[in-house]
């Protein structure tokens, strides 16, 4: 049975309309609702289903971030992960934490914990980078099954359906492997109140990147964060004829 490591990130809730800081250094995060990155919920769900099918023996949820990242780990534990690892990164160090750092942290933990399958979401909805799975696989020299919409377990290998530009693609990867979850992989469950209570008793180990031997020196400097250009307000047309006239005017038809 596989040992599974799942990376979860605490991000601003997907439904929040974000605000850029007036000094253009980033977006306002204080006092803003946060939640687990939606793709990571899918990653955890996939791991829990593996455990329910007796394909996984233990699920470890790991999150890199400030103290509040523990809430995200608790959510993962309430969904069915067995224990958590909180890699504490806070303040300016967290502001410039990049997938390159996270992937080295995940890779080290995967080795230390003798992991067979690492699952992360395909991208975090804050930085929209879509890099961590690919980079973790590279650091470990494992294959990557990116943008998974279906994972079938064989002996020593996984058959993966991937969402690619023109449709779907099927690959076989040898385990150990790193997977990234796409939207269509599954429908994540809600944590029930009894499970939330139980999750409070599950252990969370706290470590630092330094403990893991990972250098988090920034590789990328954020020069500025600004609002996107605002579109000019349009007009509501009375009927289809008016629309056809506008399309003709614009040279679209």
């Amino acid at each position: 049975m596989a040992r599974v490591l799942v990376g979860v990130k605490r991000v601003i809730d997907y439904a929040v309309k974000i605000r850029v800081k007036p000094d253009k250094s980033g977006v306002v995060t204080d006092g803003v609702k946060h939640a687990m990155n939606p793709f990571d919920e899918i990653a955890i769900e996939e791991a829990v289903r593996m455990k329910e099918k007796k394909l996984a023996s233990e699920i470890i949820a790991v999150s890199c971030g400030p103290a509040q990242a523990q809430e995200t780990i608790r959510t993962a534990l309430a969904m069915g992960a067995d224990r958590g690892i909180h890699v504490e990164v806070a303040g300016p160090e967290y502001d410039t934490l990049q997938p390159i750092h996270v992937s080295k942290i995940l890779a080290k933990l995967a080795q230390d914990e003798k992991i067979d399958i690492v699952i992360v979401g395909k991208q975090a909805i804050d930085d929209d980078a879509n890099q961590t799975a690919q980079m973790t696989a590279a650091v470990l020299d494992w294959p990557a099954g990116t943008f998974c919409s279906k994972v079938e377990h064989g002996s020593g290998e996984l058959t993966i359906t991937r969402e690619v530009d023109g449709g779907l693609e099927v690959i076989k990867v040898k385990t150990p492997a790193v997977l990234s979850a796409d939207l269509r992989l599954n429908e994540p469950r809600y944590a029930t109140l009894p499970n939330i209570m139980k999750a409070k008793k599950k252990p969370i180990k706290k470590v630092s990147p330094k403990d893991l031997g990972v250098d988090t020196a920034p590789r990328i400097e954020i020069v500025s964060v600004e609002d996107p250009p605002v579109r000019q307000a349009g007009s509501i047309l009375p009927d289809v004829d008016a629309l056809v006239a506008k399309l003709k005017e614009g040279g679209h038809i």
Partner: protein, 334 residues
Amino acid sequence: MFVNCSRTIRHKTQLSSLLQRYQSTLVIAEHNNEALSTITQNALTAARQIGGDITVLVAGTKCGPVAEAVSKANGVAKVLVAENDAFKGFVPEAITPLILATQKQFNFSHILAGATAFGKALLPRVAAKLDVSPVSDIIGIKSPDTFVRTIYAGNAIQTVKAKDGVKVVSIRGTSFEATPLEGGSAKLEPAPAGDYKSNLVEFVSQELTKSDRPALASAKTVISGGRGLKSGENFQLLYTLADKMNAAVGASRAAVDAGFVPNDLQVGQTGKIVAPDLYVAVGISGAIQHLAGMKDSKTIVAINKDPEAPIFQVADYGLVADLFKAVPELTEKV
């Protein structure tokens, strides 16, 4: 002192133009063993903005026609060709060592590809092997080390300065014009040889959605449907209109999740980013995640019966109407 100061500035300018001259970019071509993907032409434009020599790497099981085609693009100095069964399915586990060997030999300052499923899967693996932090899905280039990209589903624009020696960058196709495949005559050379076959991964099969309509990401007109279409059959209304307007058809996540259309039609933060001349949103409310994929369209038209739908806040022309009446009428009149 003033003299000294201006001399320093002049010296710096010279230095930066000297650096500029020594940029050299490797563009990873995306293709299907038959034809070059348009995204590579967009990437070439980005490479030209960076300045310096441009080399294109064509890897696949069959590279001849693609290498020939891309060698004719203006500004391409060299095309490296790696034809090998190892690259079946374009698996990153096989192409990464090829890129590393190429990088070792030529020492590029930049490695570029389009931010497609291919580029997104490949470039971060390459970057990690080079121990550099990649930059995803850029929409602009301020200087050879400073790039512009969007974060938070396109709701903020981030400018970043990459400090690593090699810049590994994926580019958003809709933000860069396509470099035409003419006016150039690059040399074709074999890429560094090696045993690139990966035993970690095996490509099994592909199931591509077949369509005679233009490709979603590069179409001049896109007509998208959402939950308001109510069923897969009703999408026929959009297909008929699309055929008449020579448009591609897209969809919101709601329409994909409901099974109306396949996943690869999804427009949005986690689907495709499009920026056509005309985007017609039919029965789409306009969630943040959908707007992320289409709000750079030149003209946006929304057809929705709910006057409060957020899509109307970005639409140039809105029609508050029942789509089941308005779309057939529009089809008839265009």
